[in-house]
Amino acid sequence: MSNPSDLKYTRTHEWVRLENGVATVGMTDYAQGELGDITYLELPDPGTSVSATEPFGVVESVKAASDIYAPVNGEVVETNDAAVGSPDVINSSPYEGAWLIKVKLDGDGGGELMSADEYAKYLEEVAH
């Protein structure tokens, strides 16, 4: 699966869609593939502040638990309850059904984000 070109990416394999001062955040296809079957998802309540590069949630596969990192600074305004209820949607639809949180940006949101092309190059480095 190619990484959508209209999204931004982090080195910790989250994706971000920036629209009107709100960031929609999910995990990349590469991340779900590395984790394997996802069985559990824990997200912060709306109103929680998140900081770029700090963990905001936890995802578990059969084999392991992993933190999910915030790509930007801001406040959580919405979470994907359907994904919490059926976390395997992260495996089946990482870029559509499995958005995780929406964050109202603090200022420009900060964070060090990559374009899809930059992320593709980064993945090549990670794989070697």
């Binding site: 394997g36 079957d37 069985t39 559990y40 824990e42 578990e60 059969v62 638990a65 495996n91």
Partner: protein, 372 residues
């Protein structure tokens, strides 16, 4: 990402062709999953799965004093094995802990034994077994035959029928925990009615050079019977549901077989053996710790090895194995806890990422196959 120092089994290329994710495990490069752990787990429970167990070790013990020797270095009563029979046992240490858990197969002709050992303990088991052979002054003929012995398991409700299409030998008549010679796919093998999944099936020992022949034939024969290749990930969840111990988690140098709930594989009345007095003392006084099974209550992450276990916020032990159970659809685990806190129905809490999660002690095994 490959590590030059890792050993590959003869089936390595098959795993690559099947798209397996390969990981380092006990010095081997082994498949952890092919399609996904849950799908593979369910394939074994509902149809059949094929496992490359080329990392496991085999030791031949067929010298004239093999029986006396095995009686001294293992916990179970080897004199009870009739030709062709197998049992679960342990290599105890002098302190009453466990060096490894093993299977002992008596050869069908009665002439000697094969001991199957864990990959993670291979070198130290063989060194220990040879050292004890010398120390006891017994001619047991201890010989590591891992380099010449392949090991493939086929497990699941369709396993016997699939294997049966590749042989004219009456393999379906081999009892549970027994083995025999057979010709499978034209290859002379030893075939055992044993496994590590809680399902019916076989563990097959072909000559190592012919492991791929047996693997390919089974894959082809099982194609229309739901046979899937299974990685180490599902092997772990399958054995956990069946409450089969994993060395390094449920068992260690400092855990007594009595604490681990494996007293049934320790025969204190068979005569002297290494660690016997220490194990007998634990049994006589009652173990201070006990292995228990539990499920978490409500939604939470999975319990995992070494997570703390408590009662009313006071620590009583730790998780030895835990996972989301694909068959039960809930989180299950094994824990080694203070004996006074152990008991089916008694409450426990598991600390998951700093929060105490409620759990309930339940009967084991967590899964038993229909009709078993």
């Amino acid at each position: 990402m490959t590590d030059e120092n890792l050993v590959r089994t003869p089936l390595y290329e098959r795993h690559q062709q099947l798209g397996a994710k390969l990981i380092p495990f006990a010095g081997y490069e082994m498949p952890v999953q092919y399609t996904g752990i849950i799908a593979e787990h369910n394939a074994v429970r509902q149809q059949a799965g094929l496992f490359d167990l080329g990392h496991m070790g085999q030791v031949d013990v067929s010298g004239p004093q093999a029986l006396d020797y095995l009686q001294r270095i293992t916990t179970n009563d080897v004199s009870q094995l009739v030709p062709g029979q197998a049992h679960y046992s342990m290599l105890p240490n002098p302190e009453g802990g466990v060096i490894d858990d093993i299977l002992i197969y008596r050869r069908p002709g009665g002439d000697g034994y094969m001991v199957v050992i864990n990959a993670s303990n291979h070198a130290r088991d063989v060194a220990w077994m040879k050292q004890q052979e010398a120390a006891l002054g017994l001619n047991a003929g201890v010989r590591d035959i891992s380099d010449e012995t392949g090991m493939i398991a086929i497990q699941g409700p369709n396993a016997v029928a699939i294997t049966k299409t590749l042989t004219t030998d009456p393999i379906e008549s081999i009892p549970y925990y027994a083995w025999d010679k057979a010709t499978v796919a034209g290859v002379p093998v030893m075939i055992a009615r044993t496994g590590y999944t809680g399902e019916d099936g076989f563990e097959i020992y072909p000559p190592i050079d012919e492991a791929t022949t047996v693997w390919d034939a089974l894959m082809a024969a099982g194609a229309d019977k739901g046979l899937q290749p299974i990685g180490l990930g599902a092997r772990d969840t399958l054995r956990l549901e069946a409450r089969m111990p994993l060395y390094g988690q449920e068992l260690s140098d400092t855990i007594s077989p009595i604490e681990a709930g494996l007293g049934w594989a320790v025969k204190l009345d068979k005569g002297d053996f290494i660690g016997r007095d220490r194990i007998a003392a634990v049994k006589a006084q009652g173990p201070r710790r006990k292995a228990v099974g539990f499920r978490t209550v409500g939604r939470s992450g999975a319990p995992r090895t070494h997570y703390p276990v408590g009662v009313n916020g006071s620590p009583v032990g730790e998780v030895t194995s835990g996972a989301f159970s694909p068959t039960l659809g809930e989180n299950i685990g094994l824990a080694l806890i203070a004996a006074e806190s152990a008991g089916v129905g008694k409450p426990l809490q598991v600390e998951i990422r700093g929060k105490w999660i409620d759990a309930e002690q339940i009967k084991m095994p967590f899964y038993k196959r229909p009709g078993a």
